[in-house]
C-alpha cells in the first residue's frame, strides 16, 4: 500500500492514557492542545486509502478508511477539538480532560472506521466518555440527567449492535458501506435506528435537550460538536438517499425551533437548535442528491463551528452569573460586551445571515432540496430558518444582554482562554462566510453553487429583518418564564417506570412465595444437613482450607475496593478495560 496515514484518535488516546501519571502542578495543561494540532496535521497530510487492517473472525476490521467524506468531518473535528481544549484550558480537573480527549478520539475512530465492529467500539467509547462530561458538573440534577443520557445511548448502541450482528449472520461481513434503500433489510433499519438515536431524530431526540444543558461549561462545548455530527457522518456514509431521513430531518428542523421558542434556559434553547440544525443535515442526506449531501456536510462543518461558539457564549454566562436562565439574566450588555459580540457572530451564523458561514451552507441544502423538487421540504426548512433567528438570534441575546435596565447580579471573572477560544471560532465563522471556497473545497462532491447573488442576499436579509419585526411586535408575549417543558423524555421515563414495575412486582411476589415455602419445609432439612457438615468441617477440612481462605479474603478486599456501587466508577473501569483489550487485539 502506498501513502501514509496516522490515525488522529491515536494522539488523543495517547495523551488520555499518560495524563493520569503526570503530576507536580498544572504544567501538563500545555500538552492538551498537542493532540488536536497533531490530528489536524494527520488529516491534512493523509493520503486516500484504507489503513489499519486487523484480522478478526476470518475477515478484516479497517480502522482507517480515508476518503473525502471522512476527511472533511475529521478536518472540522480537529479544529473544534483545539477550540474546545483552549476553552477548557483553565480546568484543573484531569478527569474532565481525559473524558473530552477520549470522547474526541471516539469521534475520530467512528469517522475513519471501515467496518461496523470498529465503528461500534468507538461509538460506545464516545457514549461512555461523553457521559462523564455531564456527571463532572457534580450536582444532583446533572447526575440524574447523565444517567438518563447514558441509558438512552446504551439503548441506541444496542440497536446498532443487534443490527450489525444480524447483518453479519445474513451477509457474512461487517463492512460498513452505503445501503440502497430498495434493498434495505430489517437489520439495516435496526442500524439506522441506532444512528438516529445519536442524530437526535425526533422522537428519539429528548436525551439531547435533557442532558446537554446539565453538562459542565466546557463539556457542553465538546458535546454539541461530536455526538450528533458523528451520527450525521455515519448516516451520510451508510444511508444517503433514504426517504425516511428526508422526512425525519424536516420534522427535526421544525420541531427543534418550536420548542426553542418557549424555552427559558439559554443552553436548552441552543440544544433544541442542535436538533433543528441537525434536521437540515439529515434532510439533505435523505434527499441524497450530490448537492444536498454536499449541503448536509457543509452544514455539519459550519454548524460545529458556530454551535460551539454559541455554547461557549452561553457557557460564559453560566460561568460568570452562575445561571443560564434567561428569566434571571438580562441587562448584561454593558458588563459583558465581548461575550455578547462573540455570541452574536455565532447567532447570525446559525441564522444564515449573509457573510457568515451558516449562509453559505444552509442555502446549499435548501436550494438543493428545491432543485430536487422537494418544495415542501424547502419551505419547512425556511420556516425553521425564521424560528432559528427568532430564538437564537434575537430572543436569547435580547433577554440575556438587554431587556432589563441594569442587572446587579454578581459576575465571576471569565478566564482569558475562554475569550480566546470564542475569538478563534468567530474568526472561522466569518472567514468561511466571506470566502466560501474555504469550505466548498473540502466537500465530498464537486460544487457548482454560488451562494452570493443579488437575489439571495436580498431574500436572506428580508427574511431575517422581518423575523426581527415579528419579534419586535411579540416582545412581551415571547418573554421567557421559569419552568421545564414536557418532551418525549417523559414518555421514556414512563416506559422505564412501567418496565421496572412489571419486572419488580411478579418477581417480588415469587420471591415472597419462595421464602414462605423455604421457611416451612427447607429450613429444617438444611439444619440437619448443617449439623453433619459441621462435624465433617471440624474434623477434616479446617486445616486444609485456612490457607486458601486468607488468599480469598485478600482478593475480596481488592474487589470490594473496586466495587464502590457507583455506576460512574464501573463505567470508568469498563472503559479503561475495553481500551486496553482493544489495544491488545490491535497489537
Amino acid at each position: 500500500m502506498t501513502g501514509s496515514f496516522i490515525h488522529p484518535a491515536a494522539w488523543f488516546i495517547g495523551l488520555a492514557l499518560i495524563l493520569p501519571f503526570l503530576g507536580g502542578g498544572f504544567w501538563w495543561r500545555w500538552l492538551l492542545p498537542i493532540p488536536a494540532i497533531a490530528a489536524f496535521i494527520s488529516v491534512v497530510t493523509a493520503d486516500h486509502g484504507l489503513y489499519g487492517y486487523i484480522p478478526y473472525l476470518g475477515q478484516f476490521l479497517i480502522l482507517g478508511r480515508v476518503d473525502r467524506l471522512s476527511l472533511v468531518f475529521a478536518h472540522v473535528f480537529a479544529i473544534q477539538a483545539f477550540i474546545g481544549i483552549i476553552y477548557a484550558f483553565h480546568v484543573k480537573e484531569k478527569a474532565h480532560h481525559i473524558a473530552s480527549l477520549l470522547y474526541v478520539a471516539g469521534s475520530f475512530g467512528c469517522t475513519f472506521a471501515g467496518d461496523y465492529i470498529s465503528l461500534f467500539v468507538f461509538w460506545e467509547l464516545m457514549s461512555v466518555s461523553s457521559t462523564f462530561l455531564i456527571w463532572l458538573r457534580r450536582n444532583p440534577v446533572s447526575t440524574r440527567a447523565g444517567f438518563r443520557y447514558f441509558l438512552f445511548h446504551t439503548l441506541g448502541g444496542l440497536f446498532l449492535l443487534a443490527g450489525l450482528l444480524l447483518r453479519y449472520k445474513a451477509v457474512g461481513t461487517f463492512s460498513f458501506d452505503l445501503v440502497n434503500q430498495a434493498n434495505a433489510q430489517f437489520y439495516d433499519w435496526l442500524i439506522l435506528i441506532g444512528f438516529a438515536v445519536n442524530a437526535a431524530a425526533v422522537p428519539l431526540h429528548a436525551w439531547l435537550p435533557d442532558a446537554y444543558p446539565e453538562a459542565t461549561v466546557p463539556g457542553a462545548v465538546f458535546l454539541c460538536a461530536f455526538t450528533t455530527k458523528t451520527a450525521v457522518y455515519v448516516l451520510a456514509r451508510g444511508f444517503a438517499g433514504f426517504d425516511a431521513l428526508a422526512i425525519a430531518g424536516t420534522v427535526m428542523a421544525v420541531y427543534g425551533v418550536l420548542y426553542a421558542a418557549i424555552e427559558n434556559d439559554a443552553r436548552r434553547i441552543l440544544s433544541y437548535h442542535i436538533v433543528s440544525q441537525v434536521g437540515y443535515m439529515v434532510a439533505g442526506i435523505g434527499i441524497g442528491t450530490a448537492m444536498t449531501v454536499n449541503g448536509a456536510v457543509a452544514h455539519a462543518y459550519a454548524h460545529i463551528l458556530y454551535k460551539g461558539l454559541l455554547f461557549m457564549g452561553a457557557g460564559c454566562l453560566l460561568h460568570a452569573a452562575a445561571t443560564s436562565k434567561l428569566s434571571d439574566l438580562g441587562g448584561l450588555v454593558g458588563r459583558l460586551p465581548w461575550v455578547m459580540l462573540l455570541y452574536m457572530v455565532g447567532a447570525v451564523s446559525i441564522s444564515g445571515m449573509p457573510f457568515f458561514n451558516g449562509f453559505v451552507s444552509k442555502n446549499m441544502t435548501i436550494f438543493g432540496a428545491v432543485a430536487a423538487h422537494h418544495m415542501l421540504i424547502g419551505v419547512f426548512l425556511e420556516v425553521a430558518a425564521v424560528g432559528t433567528f427568532l430564538s437564537v438570534g434575537i430572543k436569547l441575546p435580547y433577554f440575556a444582554f438587554w431587556a432589563k435596565p441594569d442587572n446587579p447580579i454578581e459576575l465571576r471573572p471569565i478566564p482569558k482562554n475562554m475569550y480566546l477560544a470564542m475569538a478563534i471560532a468567530a474568526a472561522l465563522c466569518l472567514a468561511q462566510g466571506l470566502y466560501p471556497r474555504l469550505l466548498y473545497s473540502l466537500l465530498p462532491n464537486p460544487v457548482q453553487f454560488d451562494p452570493y447573488t443579488g437575489w439571495t442576499l436580498l431574500q436572506a436579509f428580508m427574511l431575517l429583518s422581518f423575523t426581527g419585526f415579528g419579534f419586535y411586535l411579540m416582545k412581551k408575549v415571547i418573554a421567557p418564564h421559569a419552568g421545564r417543558n414536557l418532551d418525549f423524555d417523559v414518555l421514556y421515563r414512563l416506559v422505564g417506570r412501567a418496565f421496572v414495575y412489571v419486572v419488580c412486582k411478579p418477581i417480588s411476589l415469587l420471591d415472597d412465595l419462595w421464602t414462605e415455602a423455604y421457611r416451612a419445609g427447607g429450613l429444617r432439612g438444611l439444619l440437619r444437613l448443617a449439623g453433619g457438615a459441621r462435624w465433617f468441617d471440624a474434623k477434616g477440612i479446617d486445616t486444609v482450607v485456612d490457607g486458601s481462605a486468607y488468599t480469598v479474603r485478600g482478593l475480596g478486599r481488592a474487589g470490594a475496593r473496586i466495587q464502590t456501587g457507583n455506576l460512574q466508577d464501573y463505567l470508568a473501569w469498563a472503559a479503561v478495560f475495553a481500551l486496553v483489550l482493544y489495544a491488545i487485539v490491535w497489537w
Binding site: N139, P140, V141, R144, A145, V257, L258, A261, I262, V333, G334, R335, L336, P337, W338, M340, L341, F367, V370, M375, G378, V379, E382, V383, V386, G387, L390, W402, P405, G454, W455, L458, Q459, F461, M462, L463, L464, S465, F466, T467, G468, F469, G470, F471, Y472, L473, M474, V477, I478, H481, A482, G483, R484, N485, L486, D487
Partner: protein, 85 residues
C-alpha cells in the same frame, strides 16, 4: 469610553433612534424587492415583491403566538430541582 459603556449608553439613551433605523431598513428592503427579484422563482409565489418579508413576519408571529399562548401552558411544569426524585 469602553465598548461596554458605549453599548449601555446607546441602549438607554438612543433606543428610539435605533428603532427608527430598523424601520427604515425594513422599508428599504421591501422597496428593493421591486427591483431585485429571482430570475427563476424558487417557489411559485416568491415572484411577488415582499413575499419573503411577509413569510418571515407571519411565521414569526404565528410561531410565537401558537407556542407561547397555546402550547406552552399545556406542557410546562416545575423545573428539575436538586432535591426531587
Amino acid at each position: 469610553m469602553s465598548l461596554g459603556n458605549w453599548l449601555d449608553i446607546t441602549r438607554k439613551r438612543h433606543a428610539k433612534r435605533w428603532t427608527l433605523v430598523f424601520f427604515l431598513i425594513l422599508a428599504g428592503l421591501f422597496v428593493a424587492n421591486f427591483f431585485i427579484y429571482p430570475h427563476h422563482p424558487e417557489y411559485q409565489y416568491d415572484i411577488y415583491p415582499g413575499f419573503w418579508a411577509v413569510f418571515g413576519l407571519l411565521v414569526a408571529l404565528v410561531m410565537v403566538i401558537v407556542m407561547k399562548k397555546i402550547v406552552y401552558p399545556l406542557i410546562t411544569g416545575p423545573e428539575d430541582s436538586s432535591d426531587d426524585r
